[in-house]
């Protein structure tokens, strides 16, 4: 049935619709390029959403946990092989997306008789200063775009995703610490998942005092690619005490 071009196009369209349908209900993940480093925030219900990839690389993803694992393992393998064969400085997000993950995702998406990969994600690469950070929003079909405005929101509704990112940029100021940025991220997260207007965390009813109970029993995950430390490995999970 798929040997005719229009049938193939129809099958791809159906596949796209199926994946979007499967992604409904997934909750957003966010990434912020800040003076301290790159902050990644996710809210999960058992399965992690924020991951270390390489010395200066991290991932935040939503979708099917098994598919997130596939993406994660693929990129980790590529990064470590490249870092070992050449050097850690040669492991860059642009090269990983261009030559490893992007083609793999596209091929997987277009193989319409195999199970699709149900993942949307953001990759982050820490630079030596804010302007050198790289954030990449990656779609399930292998397309991706690099974001240079310092904020990426990954959500299943792309219009809401853009609105959230715009709102967050308006709210962010240079003097905000990672704790304040995290509260802002949670405010955006709550607005997106509850389909309500964006409200700054300083006003009543917003995410300032978000607890696991207020988040539906989910666990807040925060990690920082830390620009301030000199260690080779910059990724570290943030403890609650660091975010207060």
């Amino acid at each position: 049935m798929n040997d005719e071009p229009y049938r193939w196009l129809e099958a791809v369209a159906n596949r796209r619709e199926y994946i979007r349908d499967q992604l409904k209900g997934a909750t957003p993940v966010l990434a912020f390029s800040r003076p301290e480093g790159i902050l990644l925030v996710g809210v999960g219900s058992g399965n992690s959403k924020v991951f270390e990839i390489y010395d200066r690389l991290a991932l935040a993803a939503l979708g099917h946990p098994v598919d997130i694992e596939k993406i994660r393992q693929t990129v980790i393998e590529s990064a470590h092989m490249e870092g070992f064969t050449r050097s850690p400085e040669d492991v860059t997000l642009r090269r990983l997306l261009n030559f490893s993950l992007g083609p793999a995702l596209k091929t997987s998406f277009e193989q319409i008789l195999s199970a699709p990969i149900i993942v949307e994600c953001v990759f982050a690469e820490l630079g030596t200063k804010v302007g050198q950070d790289v954030l990449a929003r990656v779609n399930f079909d292998g397309t991706y775009r690099f974001e240079n405005k310092g904020v990426v929101v990954v959500h299943t509704d792309h219009a809401d995703e853009t609105s959230a990112a715009t709102w967050l940029r308006e709210q962010l100021t240079d003097d905000m610490g990672v704790g304040a940025v995290r509260q802002l991220a949670l405010a955006a997260w709550r607005a997106l998942t509850a389909d309500k207007p964006f409200t700054p965390p300083t006003t009543e009813g917003a995410g300032e005092k978000a607890t696991p109970a207020e988040l539906g029993g989910r666990v807040i995950e925060c990690a920082l690619l830390d620009r301030r430390i000199s260690a080779r490995v910059r990724y570290r999970g943030l403890e609650p005490a660091e975010l207060s």
């Binding site: 270390e52 990839i53 010395d55 980790i76 092989m81 070992f84 490995v233």
Partner: protein
């Protein structure tokens, strides 16, 4: 996916030596050692690399941080030893990232033993001998740092108080044995400043009788590579800090 980075490589990097006969210049002779002190484990080494009777370098780093909780002191053929350290660094990082948990200390030690065993052809042919010491902390077992030394074929032995490897290690192990038996405080009871100063004194003692040990001269501001391993991880004791301890502890 089992988190084994070495299995991803097209072939083992240490099992390919086929050379036979001929004279191959050997970059060896070194002094690295580790001992327990009150703050944790001190792992230290000199800076000299030699090729026969030639001083190849007096700026060599032989105490290598494999990850935040393990250190390798390398002795023997530097090319192979440094490549082993690089392989282990990548393996430990790869495992932690892919499996979402750190590799256990027994698995780390096994990985090092496996590399040494794979290096057997080069060892037997006389140009690739590596005899490292390993210091690590296993968080699963309460975080006490421990010291292990290896033979070139990969057998591992835990050191109760200290271990050393390289051409100057004999002198140092003799002194450490003496101090453990008859000094007060024993090295295992020494505070950090005293232990760091002792590490430099030990290397200067070894250098007195071993031309292949060198690069440590506090009078010129050249201190040993000294790293402290404790439950909280690895900390490098940099030259400025060592100079402060040296000034306080050594009167002459």
């Amino acid at each position: 996916m089992n988190g084994d980075f070495i299995a991803l490589l097209p072939k083992s990097p240490f099992a390919t030596a086929q050379a036979s006969g001929g004279h191959v210049p050997r970059l060896e002779a070194t002094t690295v050692f580790a001992f327990h002190c009150a703050a944790g484990v001190i792992v230290a080494g000199d800076h000299r690399a030699t090729a026969g009777n030639i001083v190849f370098s007096d700026r060599t780093e032989k105490i290598l941080e494999l990850d935040r909780h393990s250190l390798l002191g390398i002795a023997g053929s530097p090319a192979i030893a440094m490549e082993m350290a690089r392989t282990l660094q990548t393996s430990f990082d790869f495992y932690r990232r892919s499996q979402l948990q750190p590799m256990s200390q027994p698995a780390k030690m096994r990985a090092l033993a496996r590399l040494l065993h794979d290096n057997l052809p080069a060892t037997l042919q006389g140009f690739g001998l590596v005899a490292p010491i390993f210091a690590g902390v296993d968080g699963v077992e309460g975080g006490r740092p421990s010291i292990y030394f290896y033979d070139p074929m990969g057998a591992q032995f835990e050191a109760a108080a200290f271990a050393g490897s390289g051409s100057g290690a004999g002198s140092i192990k003799s002194v450490l044995h003496f101090l453990e038996q008859w000094s007060d405080p024993k090295p295992a009871e020494m505070p950090l400043d005293q232990a760091v100063t002792l590490a430099n004194q030990l290397l200067m003692t070894a250098a007195e009788y071993d031309t292949a040990t060198g690069g440590v001269d506090p009078a010129r501001g050249d201190f040993a590579t000294v790293k402290l391993l404790s439950a909280s991880g690895v900390r490098s004791i940099l030259a400025d800090e060592q100079a402060g301890y040296w000034k306080d502890k050594v009167s002459r």
